[in-house]
């Protein structure tokens, strides 16, 4: 019964505070060989695939990548000009805004966790300066955030996990909301959008940067369906995540600009107090994201 008590105490401490991180990391180092062993077949397969690729396949690959590179380069030229203009305009508005963030490429370890949670294990850990709360993106959008770090690996919670909430805004008009995971990989829900809000099917949702976890401006999801039921106070809005949550193997870990830069994203808005109360950071332990106050649609300032 000592053990039962000990586990209850452990659970309480782990849930309420975070004093156990070092203890947990210690244990994780012991289980790391298991994860490594399980990942071995897939690493071997990709290694074999790479080393036995035919000359032709490589040439084709090379040609395709060249074409893509050219295309991206052309697009980047325009982007450079836009970025310079953006920074200049922001200078005029006296708001600091960093466009480029530091990133690190990590790979998923093929380890299956609890099927009722959306969590993945990455092959980068505190040795590479990964920290808890760090945002995770892939080529097409935000994937999630780190919830646990060990020396060699880290665990990330995806944005579709039931316990995850992402502060977002509609890219078209700046309408702020919170995208809550539904437990399905294909769906996010936006609770507390007023029936009269200006939101349309197909709208792009990007991170708003409120809450200070996610850097602003990364695409999150696309609005899929809006159901307006006059009997309910709020519209039911669902969105589809843009990142390939179940397919990406390579992901990017982002080091966001220092937190004091993040909240000043929206300088002419007078809703600083609202922004403070709206700091839904979507941590694993937040269980009541639904209780967040909602912004009236009119005051969403266009960025």
């Amino acid at each position: 019964m000592v053990f039962a008590l000990a586990s209850i105490v452990l659970m309480t401490i782990d849930h309420r505070q975070h004093h156990l991180e070092s203890f947990k990391s210690g244990l994780s180092v012991v289980v790391y060989p298991i994860q490594f062993l399980i990942n071995l077949p897939s690493t071997t397969r990709s290694w074999v695939e790479e080393s036995f690729a035919t000359r032709r396949a490589l040439q084709e690959d090379n040609a395709r990548l060249h074409a893509q590179h050219l295309l991206l380069q052309a697009r980047l030229q325009k982007f450079d000009a836009l970025e310079a203009e953006n920074v200049r305009l922001r200078d005029l508005l006296d708001s600091s805004f960093k466009v480029g963030d530091r990133v690190l490429i990590a790979e998923l370890i093929s380890v299956d966790l609890d099927p009722y949670r959306h969590q993945v294990v990455l092959n980068k850990g505190s040795r590479q300066d990964v920290f808890v709360g760090q945002p995770l993106v892939d080529a097409s959008g935000v994937m999630g955030q780190i919830v646990q770090v060990t020396p060699f690996t880290s665990t990330a919670m995806l944005i579709t996990d039931l316990a995850h909430a992402t502060p977002v805004q509609v890219n078209r008009n700046g309408l702020r909301s919170i995208a809550v995971g539904t437990g399905s990989l294909q769906e996010l829900s936006l609770p507390h959008i007023p029936n009269s809000a200006d939101i349309q099917v197909g709208d792009l949702l990007v991170t708003s940067g409120l809450g200070g976890r996610f850097p602003p401006g990364y695409p999150v999801a696309q609005v899929m369906a809006i159901t307006i039921d006059p009997g309910h106070a709020f519209a039911q809005v669902t969105a589809r995540p843009l990142s390939h949550l179940d397919r990406s193997r390579e992901v990017l870990l982002v080091w966001a600009p220092p937190p004091e830069a993040a909240p000043s994203f929206d300088p002419q808005s007078e809703t600083d107090a609202d922004a403070a109360s709206n700091t839904e950071t979507g941590t694993a332990t937040e269980t009541a994201p639904a209780a967040e106050p909602e912004q009236p649609p009119a005051e969403g300032a266009t960025p």
């Binding site: 053990f3 000990a6 209850i8 659970m11 782990d14 947990k24 299956d112």
Partner: protein
């Protein structure tokens, strides 16, 4: 744990637990993921039943901690479930040994379901309720797999004379 009996073959017990831990997180197709039995708990029940003087509540607790870390769950969640199931198995081990295999499987079903129930409760308390009947599939699959697992582990135990 009696110190009078000379222990033998502890590495076999460790290896079986290691394999069970691997099976717990090895990738499966999505359709099979929800039915993955709790391998570690099944192995724990076997050893607690066969060698109650060696594998008991303490080992169960420790293995549970490793399972928690491996699966990224709340630390202590599986530890609590496992040490309780190990305790019950210790209490029942003399009866369990006499049962025919299918009856053993039924008892194992109850033990596995109890372990899952504890995990479900804890998940509910920390705000992650699971509302799906498929949640109980692992116990069922585990009980169905009990006879072959039992035969394999018994064969191992006899071959390596684990006492």
């Amino acid at each position: 744990m009696s110190t009078l009996i000379r222990h033998h073959g502890g590495s076999i017990i460790l290896i079986t637990f290691f394999i069970a831990l691997i099976l717990t997180v090895v990738p499966l197709p999505d359709s099979l993921r929800v039915a993955r039995p709790d391998w570690v708990l099944i192995v724990l029940i076997y050893w607690a039943m066969a060698l109650p003087h060696r594998v008991g509540v303490g080992i169960g607790w420790l293995i549970g901690l490793f399972t928690d870390v491996l699966t990224g769950m709340l630390l202590g969640q599986h530890a609590l479930a496992y040490c309780l199931v190990a305790y019950l198995t210790l209490k029942l081990h003399q009866r369990l040994r006499l049962y025919p295999l299918w009856q053993q499987a039924l008892s194992v079903l109850i033990l596995l379901a109890l372990g899952q129930l504890l995990v479900l409760w804890i998940n509910g308390i920390v705000g992650r309720p699971i509302h799906s009947w498929t949640y109980w599939l692992p116990s069922l699959v585990g009980a169905l797999l009990w006879p072959p697992i039992f035969v394999i582990l018994r064969g191992l135990r006899r071959a390596f004379r684990v006492i």
